[in-house]
């Protein structure tokens, strides 16, 4: 079938290009230029969906992105399946596979439609009043049932096969909407030489002009004017035209976000094309020309398939050559529906009746309809409809003066085209924080005061007539480029249309007994809205939340004004008194992946690798995450397990020598005449008198007095320091330095440069470390006498400049070779070659953690957690008492930080020397602590030590230092373990090895 309901000519489809597609497994044919909606209508299919709550059969209400009913799932492959798409926006392509949603077993026979029978038992908010007993039944019984019944489409089960792109753009004038107002604005702005971007959500630019068959603009048929205008814009050098691009968000400082549908409409898109593009646009000026939405009339059973908005009915004919019915009743309160009636009649649709709610209808359009011989009844209301899967009758009655209506006369029809008038689309204006005002004449909210460099034009601010919209758009476009408004173009054949009606259509009988839908998708009826007001919901936000009106996927585009009118009537207030709900972005739904772009897997966050990464990877390293860094944990040899590798690396380092890549350590060059003073204020230690060539361990607190970072700081010259930080803390520390320098001590002359990536850092530890380096180093005497522990020298290694430090985080004799990053690998290999002569090992982070813990050295973030003071760690002596101030000093004097009984760092030796405590386990006094027992503290680090041949741990324990020598228990997953509390140092207490 190519469609029984297609007229012979006209419309913007290409009858020479038939296109095959399926809906619910059934094959159909449409034409190039069709949407799924128009193609189904052409084939006589009106039933396209089921509603959310009552599962009522539904057809198209609209022709655009505001469609609430016709939601479908599209895609034959699981990896390209998309639910909840509006059939009105899905462009037809060969092989398109669409399915209906939210029904079982089928669209035409849906068992859950029984909900409709019980509808009087499940009014708005019923779930707040029920399902409470017995206790626990909600989550075990009712909720699972409700969840299964709720939801619209189903989510795809496979990973998305498409990709998505992100773009940033700037322009002088961004114009949203390419109808007459937007096009006129674009012309005016482009002629003024501005960089213009014109966005429209539809596949073709033109807006209402695409369905304009009668009017003449500038002496030409509207279609010709449109073509000429688009040609001029396309040829203009600074104009970007973006069809299929919906602006969905209007943020601060004229920042617009738009979604472009790039390839969904193509049968076999180039795989290089993204599916969608996200545009982030910063515009000097914005012109909103977003048009208006037609409103339904709220009468009983206004939701049957075959009941649609009048201008949608006209639009399907004008744009797609489809007649949406054979015999129509027009239900209206606005002149524009007369135009629909006339055009439908011309195409051969029988117009049974035009029922106009208004007492009189005297505009040019009603006159034209009368002249054409159409039957017009004014003061006539629709008081009901009949039909099941398609409307069969309209019940038309006289409207009485008291606001009610008489008994309806059944008029046979298969189409009801309705119009309650037009609502300006103020969503984006409202998102921009502009203030709306209620226009009493238009009975609509219109933009009042702009909050940004923005101007609304055309129907979105109530300038509905074609001539008005064109003039308004031209003026807005000209104003955006500070030009005078151009002379208006002539318009013929497009008389203004007036009218409108808000709220519940005059009912026959008790409106509480019928279902007159306000929000179609969420099944909210007029009586739900009045029920909410009766129950004390006075704010429109409460009414919205209680009934869910306006909360469906169309976000109330067709329903909000009617709901507001019904509510204000029930509350006895005016519409502006009740007010609007906020317009939340996005304007229509936006694909997650479009916003997320390429950011997945290795592109999710940058991966930082050291200059020695490749060497480590080639030599068997296993890596772990440390912030953005990849760090080698250990280097397993063939046949080794983790424990064996760790033991080999530990013992090798302690007994001979070990090398480690320490390049991830943060490095900051702190320079300036006041550099020493600056560090003096930032760290707890004294730096003023640190000699050139010497290093000092530095501990940094936050303002609350707690340890925040640590590192070794070397003085290279009077005014120059090489500062190291923790690997993960580097960025934070330099930010903090800048913060203090710029805001607290702007008088200090000091500058900071992050040099983490400039240097490759190689740590060499162990008794044979010096032996390995000696042959390679030039110009530095590294003997124990010339280069004591905690010193730094500049010189060369293998001909490359180096900063060589004598520091140790393992307790062994230790050096740190810093060389420019590009030389890192070569120097590493040279040292490694020397190392092999003395049987050196390479070790990873896991090994370092054990070696340092054996010595009782802390790791910030492990022994500390933002609640630990230097004294808690046993490092109180580092505080330079002579300093007048440093960051955190004031807080250290607070009563709680100075009190007795704080948690202090201790060592733990499990009674069972082979049992490893869990890090994070709680330290308690009792062997079997009762629930609710207060913990004494927790285990911060716990390892098996190959050197000691046993397990050990560090812990923060209340009053810990006074408990040394005693015992305690540590919780395990099974129970508790007995531990001895010892000093937090397990190896070489005297520090002899360090000074070797």
């Amino acid at each position: 079938m190519t469609g029984d309901n297609r007229v012979q000519s006209g419309g913007r489809i290409d009858r020479a290009k038939p296109i095959g597609f399926t809906f619910d497994g059934k094959k159909f044919t449409g034409f190039a230029g069709d949407t799924l909606a128009s193609a189904l209508l052409a084939n006589g299919v009106h039933l396209m969906g089921r509603s959310f709550k009552y599962h009522r059969p539904r057809g198209l209400l609209t022709m655009g992105s505001e469609e609430p009913n016709a939601l479908v799932g599209v895609g034959s492959q699981e990896s390209r399946f998309t639910p909840n798409l509006r059939a009105t926006q899905v462009e037809l392509y060969e092989g398109l596979t669409a399915v209906s949603q939210n029904n079982w077993p089928s669209l035409s026979l849906d068992f859950q439609a029984v909900n409709g029978l019980f509808s009087s038992f499940i009014p708005a908010g019923f779930y707040y009043k029920t399902f409470m007993h017995p206790k626990g039944a909600w989550e075990s019984l009712y909720e699972p049932l409700i969840r299964r019944a709720a939801g619209l489409g189903r989510a795809p089960k496979a990973r998305d096969a498409d990709h998505y792109a992100n773009l940033y753009a700037h322009c002088d004038v961004a114009i949203v909407g390419a109808g007459p107002a937007g096009l006129a604005a674009a012309l005016a702005a482009a002629r003024g030489g501005a960089r213009v971007m014109l966005f429209d959500e539809q596949a073709e630019l033109g807006g209402s002009l695409l369905a304009e068959s009668a009017a003449r603009i500038d002496g030409k048929p509207a279609a010709d004017w449109l073509a000429a205008t688009l040609a001029e814009l396309a040829a203009a050098p600074h104009v970007t035209l973006l069809p299929r691009t919906q602006i969905f968000g209007y943020y601060a400082q004229n920042f617009l976000a738009g979604l472009e549908r790039v390839s969904d409409h193509l049968a076999s898109p180039d795989p290089k094309l993204p599916r969608e593009r996200l545009w982030r646009v910063r515009a000097k000026r914005v012109v909103l020309a977003a048009g208006a939405h037609e409103r339904p009339l709220v009468f009983p059973d206004n939701d049957r398939p075959g009941i649609m908005l009048a201008d949608a009915a006209r639009g399907f004919l004008a744009r797609y050559g489809v007649t949406p019915g054979a015999r129509a009743v027009i239900a209206t309160a606005h002149d524009s529906a007369y135009r629909a009636a006339l055009e439908l009649a011309q195409a051969g649709v029988a117009i049974a009746l035009i029922a106009d709610l208004r007492p009189n209808a005297e505009g040019e359009w009603p006159e034209a309809a009368r002249k054409a011989g159409l039957r017009v009844e004014t003061g006539a209301a629709i008081v009901g409809t009949r039909g099941h899967l398609r409307v069969s009758h309209a019940l038309v009655a006289k409207r009485w003066a008291d606001g009610s209506a008489g008994r309806g006369e059944a008029i046979a029809c298969d189409l009801i085209a309705m119009s309650g008038g037009w609502t300006p689309s103020v969503h984006l204006f409202s998102q921009s924080r502009g203030k709306l005002a209620f226009d009493e004449t238009l009975q609509a909210f219109v933009p009042d005061v702009s909050a940004q460099a923005e101007r609304s034009a055309g129907a979105c601010r109530g300038a509905f007539a074609l001539s008005e919209a064109l003039a308004d758009g031209a003026a807005a476009g000209a104003a955006a480029v500070s030009a005078a408004a151009p002379a208006p173009v002539s318009v013929e054949g497009a008389p203004a249309a007036h009218g409108g009606f808000l709220g519940l259509s005059p009912p026959h009988g008790d409106p509480q007994k019928s279902k007159a839908f306000v929000d179609f998708q969420n099944d909210v009826t007029a009586r739900d809205v009045t029920l909410a007001t009766r129950e004390g919901m006075r704010s429109i936000e409460h009414i919205k939340r209680y009934t869910t009106t306006g909360m469906a996927t169309d976000q109330g585009k067709t329903s909000n004004m009617n709901a507001l009118a019904i509510a204000s009537q029930a509350l006895g207030k005016t519409i502006p008194q009740v007010g609007l709900t906020t317009f939340r972005l996005p304007y229509t739904p936006v694909t997650f992946a479009s916003i997320a772009g390429m950011s997945r897997r290795e592109l999710f966050d940058p991966v930082r690798q050291t200059p020695l990464h490749a060497w480590a990877a080639e030599n068997g390293a296993t890596f772990e995450e440390a912030g953005l860094w990849k760090r080698a944990s250990y280097f397993k040899r063939p046949g080794e397990d983790v424990k064996a590798a760790v033991a080999r690396e530990c013992l090798g380092t302690r007994e001979r020598a070990g090398m480690m890549d320490a390049s991830t350590l943060g490095k900051i060059e702190v320079v300036g005449p006041d550099a020493a003073e600056f560090l003096n204020r930032l760290y707890i230690n004294a730096f003023a008198k640190l000699g050139v060539g010497r290093c000092r361990y530095g501990l940094m607190l936050n303002e609350a007095g707690y340890v925040m970072d640590d590192g070794v700081i070397a003085r290279l010259a009077q005014d120059r320091f090489h500062v190291t930080t923790t690997s993960v803390g580097a960025a934070h520390v330099i930010t903090l330095m800048e913060d203090f320098a710029q805001t607290e001590w702007p008088d200090l002359k000091v500058w900071f440069t992050s040099t983490t990536e400039q240097w490759a850092t190689i740590a060499i530890n162990g008794p044979r470390a010096r032996q390995m380096l000696e042959p390679l180093v030039e110009g530095i005497d590294i003997s124990a006498a010339a280069m004591p522990h905690l010193s730094m020298r500049e010189g060369h290694i293998c001909g490359v400049p180096t900063r060589l430090a004598r520091v140790s985080f393992t307790g062994e004799l230790g050096f740190e070779v810093n060389v420019p990053a590009d030389y890192g690998r070569a120097i590493w290999e040279a040292i490694w070659a020397e190392g092999r002569k003395v049987d050196c090992v390479v070790y990873g982070l896991d090994v370092l953690l054990i070696l340092r813990a054996e010595k009782g050295f802390i790791v910030v973030g492990q022994e500390t957690d933002g609640t630990v003071t230097p004294d808690d760690l046993g490092l109180g002596k580092m505080i330079a008492q002579s300093k007048p101030d440093f960051v955190g000093k004031r807080s250290l004097a607070m009563p709680d930080l100075a009190r007795e009984g704080r948690k202090q760092l201790v060592g733990l030796l499990p009674d069972d020397s082979q049992f490893k405590l869990d890090e994070g386990a709680q330290v308690v006094d009792a062997i079997a602590p009762a629930i609710g027992t207060s913990a004494l503290g927790h285990v911060t680090s716990s390892y098996f030590s190959p050197t000691l041949g046993r397990t050990f741990a560090m812990a923060l324990v209340a009053g810990g230092r006074s408990r040394i020598g005693g015992t305690a228990y540590v919780t395990t997953m099974q129970g508790t373990a007995l531990v001895r509390i010892v000093e937090p140092i397990f190896y070489d207490k005297e520090g002899k090895r360090l000074d070797a």
Binding site: K129, L152, R527, F592, D896, T971
Partner: protein, 416 residues
Amino acid sequence: MKFSYLSLARQALGGHQGWPEQWRSPAPKSAYDAIIVGAGGHGLATAYYMAKEHGMRNIAVLEKGWLGGGNTGRNTTIIRSNYLWEPSEAIYGHAHKLWHGLSQELNYNVMFSPRGVMLIAHSHHDEQSFKRHIYANRLAGTQNEWLTPEQAKAFCPLLNIDPSMRYPIVGAALQRTGGTARHDAVAWGYARGASTLGVDIIENCEVKGIARDASGAVSGLETTRGPIATKRIGVVAAGNTSVVMAMAGVRMPLESFPLQALVSEPLKPIMPCVVMSNTIHAYMSQSDKGELVIGAGTDAYTSYSQTGGLHIATQTLEAICEMFPTVSRLRMLRNWGGIVDVTPDRSPIISKTPVPGLFVNCGWGTGGFKATPGSGHVFAHQVATGEPHPINAPFTLDRFRTGALINEAAAAAVAH
């Protein structure tokens, strides 16, 4: 009228004409025994328990907008109690107990749904921190358990545990008793309960000033609906607390940040629980209606604007698509923000203040919805008796002077 199947059936037969209003809308009286500022969940719960447990009936709740329209009506409703420190476990645990049975207590279905809250660990550091929580929680009798990646996937089949992730999942901490509730119903249920007990809930009534007598004690409030006398004020104004407290000259250790959330279009059930990742800043659950409910981290800068930037939603959706790859074709339906009040130690303040008669309950930041019943219950005690309930005793304003912080950011926020 009691809500039940019976009343629903009766009303159905009568066309639902007989439902009474759920709460009254009285004009403010000239004086009250006590006034709560802010009709969010916490403020309404406070008033409810003051009336119910402390017999105070001549009290009012003042709200500048519509009740429940602040963070209560904007949050992602995650409820859990597996916090680290004992005072936190006590208050969140207290709330957790009250959640079980709140629907019955209020005769209002708040849809508390303990479907499980799973926190994802992406690194060795996360694992250490989560296990520490688990050990602390077990000792306190708070349910929390460690799952391997495979167990986590079994609990939430949508979860990606592929090693190709940028931050592969190394495990998860699961609180099976955690879950969600319906935020509006919590506000409405407490409002109805309080109003029925005689509490005046006055909407569209913004507090503009706090009056004090010669001794410095509070004597009343200036509001957009006129002055109201009272000797006891409880401020529960979330993101606006600093502004209200400044009216009494009290400077608060708070920063206000926008926090965003978003939902997808409704879908058939795919997400059986709540999944959170603090490391990559995203969390997700699915509402009864079928919408995926997604939350983000706070904006980087302080602000009172309820719309956050697109870059924050971007980061969140990046993380969501990474953790749940099959949701990437789904679509964002609504995106919004709320203003959260953040303390330096990320724990609330439920306390008296230096001004006699002035009490404050704030600082719940990004996570106070879960505490609503417990917070209201103990704050009612504080305002009604002037003395703290044992559970809120540690959460003083004074702790920022003494240093006795309850640092819940602790185990998460510090570097290696």
